[in-house]
Symmetry: C2
Subunit: 384 residues, 2 copies
């Protein structure tokens, strides 16, 4: 049978048919009242998901473009920046700051560990930083960082906090204002259930002070330009109109379900997945205390190449799991349960994963992992 493509990667995630339908509607012109109405609705809903009273700008670019917008608008050559690195995306944030001429101190916590807040405080005490760069959900290591605690420190020590929430926003709780996040960046193709192509950025008043003194070259990713256009609910350059239309519907779905319910659902799916992994005798990449609610990393069994397993699952069952990045390549696989994934999807994917493991000679009691996940789902997890 022609395979059903089943995305269990941490973005792009499956697009709900309601969202696909909205994107397939006839295009509207982007310099029209219709577009302004769309952007107005959308921005109001984004504020709720961001947990902010500030404006949220929608940029037509990927999440990396949003991260660059955060850096390019704030960092001037020579600025001291502290980058908290817990994996590949933390490294990328640090690299961006270097490219814009910052003097970057990278605090590396080791792949698989979360940010150690005590170490961050020690640094902030010993040295004045203009900004701290942090990753909320580090998909490469399936670790979630304590942005709330980091935000307390950056406020106390007078640094701006720039957060990459690309793979978390809409799936994991975050409160830009309450937690003191000055620039919060996310993207469309993760927990927000929309195809790639949009980044969203919120900016605090403290961040605007820095942005207004920005000297780095910035044009397409200029936040002042985005702010100016937003006064008319417009964009400085051509927006990806159909993705705006899809995001409008996706945000309705999220807000209709209720943010607390959405977060609880992701936590329960992570618990179910982790219970399945343990029941199969496999090792989890991230410890429970900092485990991501949206993606679960698993060490391949001794002697098995995780990428061979992934290839088999894709070829035989259409199930695409994520692999390991950089030093984890071939050694881990990652199961995303982010966005539009339901119990049938998760149990079915775990079911074919068990078959795949068995085909590679790993001793599997068929159904054992599924049963552990079922028990969590049937009980509603520890949350409900």
């Amino acid at each position: 049978m022609a395979k059903k493509m089943r995305l269990f990667i941490p973005g792009p995630t499956p697009v709900p048919p309601q969202v696909a339908e909205a994107m397939a509607r006839p295009l509207i012109g982007h310099r029209t009242q219709e577009f302004a109405d769309l952007y107005r609705r959308l921005e109001e809903k984004l504020r709720k998901v961001f947990g902010t009273q500030n404006e949220v700008y929608v940029l037509t670019c990927s999440g990396t473009g949003g991260m660059e917008a955060a850096v390019a608008n704030v960092v001037n050559p020579g600025d001291r920046v502290l980058a908290l690195v817990t994996g590949k995306f933390g490294e990328r944030f640090a690299e961006l700051a270097k490219i814009y001429g910052a003097a970057v101190d990278a605090l590396e916590f080791g792949w698989g560990n979360p940010v150690d807040v005590a170490l961050v405080e020690a640094r902030l005490k010993s040295q004045k930083y203009k900004a701290v760069l942090a990753t909320h959900n580090e998909t490469s290591t399936t670790v979630v960082n304590d942005i709330r605690a980091i935000g307390e420190l950056t406020r106390r020590y007078g640094a701006l906090l720039l957060v990459d929430a690309v793979s978390s926003l809409g799936g994991i709780e975050i409160e830009a204002d309450a937690w003191g996040v000055d620039i919060l960046v996310t993207a469309s193709q993760k927990a927000l259930m929309v195809p790639p192509g949009l980044a969203m950025v919120s900016v605090s008043p403290r961040a605007w002070e820095a942005i207004n003194e920005g000297r780095a070259p910035r044009y397409y990713l200029s936040l002042p330009a985005a702010k100016k256009s937003l006064t008319k609910f417009n964009t400085p350059y051509t927006p990806a109109v159909s993705l705006f239309a899809g995001l409008d519907v996706a945000l309705d779905m999220i807000l209709d379900e209720g943010l607390e319910n959405v977060y609880a659902r992701h936590r329960i799916f992570a618990q179910a997945t982790r219970a399945a992994v343990r029941a199969l005798g496999l090792k989890l990449l991230a410890p429970d205390a900092c485990a991501s609610p949206v993606v679960t990393g698993v060490w391949a069994p001794e002697g098995m190449n995780a990428d061979d397993l992934r290839r088999l699952l894709l070829k035989e069952y259409g199930v695409l799991l994520a692999g390991g990045q950089a030093q984890l390549k071939g050694r881990i696989f990652r199961i995303s349960h982010m966005g539009y994934i339901d119990a049938v999807d998760l149990l079915g994917a775990l079911g074919v994963l068990e078959i795949g493991l068995q085909k590679f000679g790993y001793p599997v009691t068929l159904g054992a992992g599924v049963a552990a996940a079922q028990a969590v789902l049937a009980g509603g997890g520890q949350d409900v």
Copy 2:
């Protein structure tokens, strides 16, 4: 989360995105060369799936319309017709013949039993019939009948054989010419993976002799009109153009996979489902020897209303199972594995079924049914 609607009913079945995409293309006019080309392609592919050298007419109506076309064109008032009844759809075929004035002898085999070919032969020996009406796959009882054996009898005793293959064609082997089926009827929304709205009918030269002497009123469902139009690859009345476009793609998918592979896949999925049902200690509706490869019927546990279980699965997990019809209402549920259903779908559905059974107090070892299905799927069933 907004539920994913998951159809595990014996039609309409899930529509592949390739088919949905074809149906969403701009409409073509139905009196154009483009439509004639489409119908020509489609009819050629249908002959392969029907196993016939004869023409196959595509009517814009549901499967019942196709069954009526078979009866209305062949049966004259007073004709003796033998109806082989193994469930609700066998009853419908008999009822249609009565409505058209036939003297119908209904051979009832009891719900859950297949046609007993010896009894059919005894009847045909003792009485001359113009036509025999048979159901290939009786979805109401999840039983498949031996059309090949029935066809040998109807040829030997000089009766026409009219077969309802609405829920089997494209999922279960059938060979119109080799098996001596004079009129074979199917519909778009079952194993052919297209939304409802089309019936397809093949007609043998023997059947044409009867049709040409037909005296029943027939207009929209006239097979002579369909035959005449097919000489120009057109239809007598407005066809459901977008469904034709979808069927064109669906038939490509089936023929690309290969009919033998499609049939084997359905048999394996039935084996997997039946193994799961047994592992859960539940009773199957149909015995193995005549079990349908495309839909599996299961007795609800003692004291449980099958429809309560079905409502829970729909509400909580978006999984729609079929219920029992007529005397089986509330007593059975049916799991369709017809058409565009893959291993992830089936294992996921069995996983939530187990949770549902447990929620109603039935003692379930979570994962036990899934494990039995996994074992069949991992081994490729007994077929491969």
